[in-house]
Subunit: 141 residues, 2 copies
DNA sequence: TACGTAATATACCGACAAGCTAATTAACCC
DNA sequence: GGGTTAATTAGCTTGTCGGTATATTACGTA
């Protein structure tokens, strides 16, 4: 039983799980709905396992509706992770390479983030993204 | 060989490694200097291994000075992680529980973070930290 | 040259993570 | 009750991780 932060980061360290979270950003979904994009490359129990990891990490809550288990996103643990990362904010801004200024500009241009950088670049979610640096943000979501 | 983001998160999913990064925020340090706070609970090769993980994740750069290997912090991968997390910013702000408003207040009150929430609560770093925000950056690099 | 120190390499271990298949539970509908 | 669908559990294999102990490389110095 590791600490909360470790469990959070550990849960995020898998592209499938990140894609699941990304999908849940669009609203609640059942397990099969969540699994659907992966079923070519992974079985349903596999997805269930990943969901379990996210669930014990506190980022996904499963309710029950008859035989379905609608899952919802819970960002509470992400707040801790973001708070941890906040400590490094000044360092990131200091090193003004690649993403640096972009990110700081983006975070400083508060709230209504039309961002969507690379939600799940490595996952067979049909929407192909591709970062396209020219589209400063917009599109996608 | 997982993707970059997974490797980054995976590297962060360990309190020892997070403590190492935290220590490096104060400036470059050799391996033994970095290991010193842990030597009661872990051997030197153990720390070297953790450093290796951080190194292959691109968050630590080892240079060499005679038989010493001064390590420096490299926040580049953290930018990607922060960018990923940025997507969930709006969700975090929407759920205004515990940390929510505090964090958003904090990020909105840009840069000079006198923050220091819980850098390494679970690790025997004798320097009771607090990073002294006066050294806005300077030194180190 | 020999010695002490800094750091890594190698080999080994137990534990856990990720994936599968097959079987099982749970709820609905006829 | 019988059949169907949703989802989980169980058991297994494979691979990686965290840690140790020991040996080795590299350097500075007496």
């Amino acid at each position: 039983m590791p600490d909360t932060l470790s469990r959070t980061f550990s849960a995020l360290a898998d592209p499938t799980r990140r894609a699941l979270l990304a999908r849940l950003r669009a609203g609640e979904a059942t397990v099969t709905q969540l699994a659907e994009p992966f079923l070519g490359q992974m079985t349903l129990p596999g997805v269930t396992k990943h969901l379990k990891v996210l669930e014990t990490a506190g980022m996904v809550t499963k309710t029950r509706d008859a035989q379905w288990r609608p899952c919802t996103l819970n960002v509470e643990p992400l707040k801790d992770a973001a708070a941890w990362m906040e400590e490094y904010r000044v360092h990131m801004e200091a090193s003004l390479d690649r993403l640096g200024d972009y990110l700081s500009m983006l975070t400083r241009a508060n709230s209504n983030s039309p961002t969507q950088i690379s939600m799940n670049a490595d996952i067979p979610v049909e929407r192909t993204t591709t970062i396209t640096p020219d589209t400063t943000d917009a599109d996608t979501v």
